[in-house]
Symmetry: C2
């Protein structure tokens, strides 16, 4: 038990090191030696946890998503109307990522272009983790007759897809620099999507 | 007049050459010498039209967008219900780009990662060109009371933003390979957005 806790601690320490090196050097210039020195452990210890520099950078992104999902869970369970929860969750998934990479905006292009193919493959898993949380709130909204839709997973993926263009990967540095722009855009897309999801209790027209 | 026509012809021939070299070699390996040879003109003539290899590749992307906008104009003016037109336009902007880069999927990562910062800056102009066309259809829909919204330009940008994650830039090669996936996703996002835009002729609830 103690040993497992320690392993997790070291893993987290290494990923904290990656985070700070990314902001200082960027991905391409960062070396495993730098990382070992920054964490204060031997390079061999890093390789016990991560197979390569690419793997350590991707795991750093995975950790951002795990933390995001913890926050999404909290919003999903809040005692608030389902549509408000969905809006806040959509805004959070955009702003949480923004905040997580904000301190290394300059090196983000570098990181993303170096990792592009393997990162895009990984991204699919991130979206599925998020979708699961959205599915639960959507289904709750359907049970209470606030939302109308056929397939909850398809609908969850559509909500994510419609806000994916606001994630750091698609935005340029100037856009990434404006948190309020992102927040507004996410809110607008969310509002339009939510109007589309709401049940029309009184049916008008054909 | 004749001279201007000729200049445009040569420009187009050069861009056709870029298109075929991108699919054969990819961006990084393509040289201005290759391009001159492929088009059958001197390298100096290319430099009369384009200042650099980057500029020629970006102009090639600009041309894709000009052609897309011509097609969008046709859909925008079609004698069809406004919501159907908007849906078709949203699908077109996704599928037209997909089709335009389909023959060099393999080298697309290469092109986009090399051009990333300057391409992202250029993309804003592309979106504004598209937005102008959407604005006109949205306003027509508002006049005839099919749509309800406040600001047509903000709404147009929101529609584009909500489908931007389906553009080649954000998708991985596997996703890019599935045209039907893209088409379905674009249709789903469009349907949800359009339900959000439709006027509720009979107002129910608060």
């Amino acid at each position: 038990m103690r040993q497992i806790a320690q392993r997790d601690d070291i893993r987290d320490l290494i990923l904290d090191g990656v985070d700070s090196l990314l902001s200082r050097y960027g991905y391409r210039k960062m070396t495993m030696d730098d990382l070992a020195a920054a964490v204060g452990i031997g390079k061999g210890t890093i390789y016990l946890h991560f197979s390569s520099k690419e793997e350590v950078a991707l795991s750093h992104i995975d950790r951002i998503i795990e933390r995001l999902c913890d926050e999404l869970e909290l919003l999903a369970r809040a005692k608030e109307p389902v549509d408000l929860r969905i809006r806040k969750m959509l805004q959070l998934r955009v702003l949480f990522r923004f905040d997580s990479v904000q301190h290394y905006t300059q090196s983000l292009n570098d990181l993303l272009s170096a990792l592009r193919p393997s990162f895009l493959a990984r991204r699919q898993n991130h979206f599925e983790q998020e979708a699961e949380i959205f599915v639960r709130v959507l289904e709750e909204g359907r049970r209470e007759n606030t939302f109308q839709f056929h397939n909850s997973r398809v609908t969850a993926r559509t909500l994510l897809m419609a806000t994916n263009s606001l994630l750091p990967y698609s935005l340029n540095a100037r856009e990434l620099g404006e948190r309020s722009f992102l927040s507004d855009q996410a809110a607008r897309i969310a509002e339009l999507l939510l109007s589309g999801l709401r049940s029309r209790r009184k049916k008008g027209g054909k």
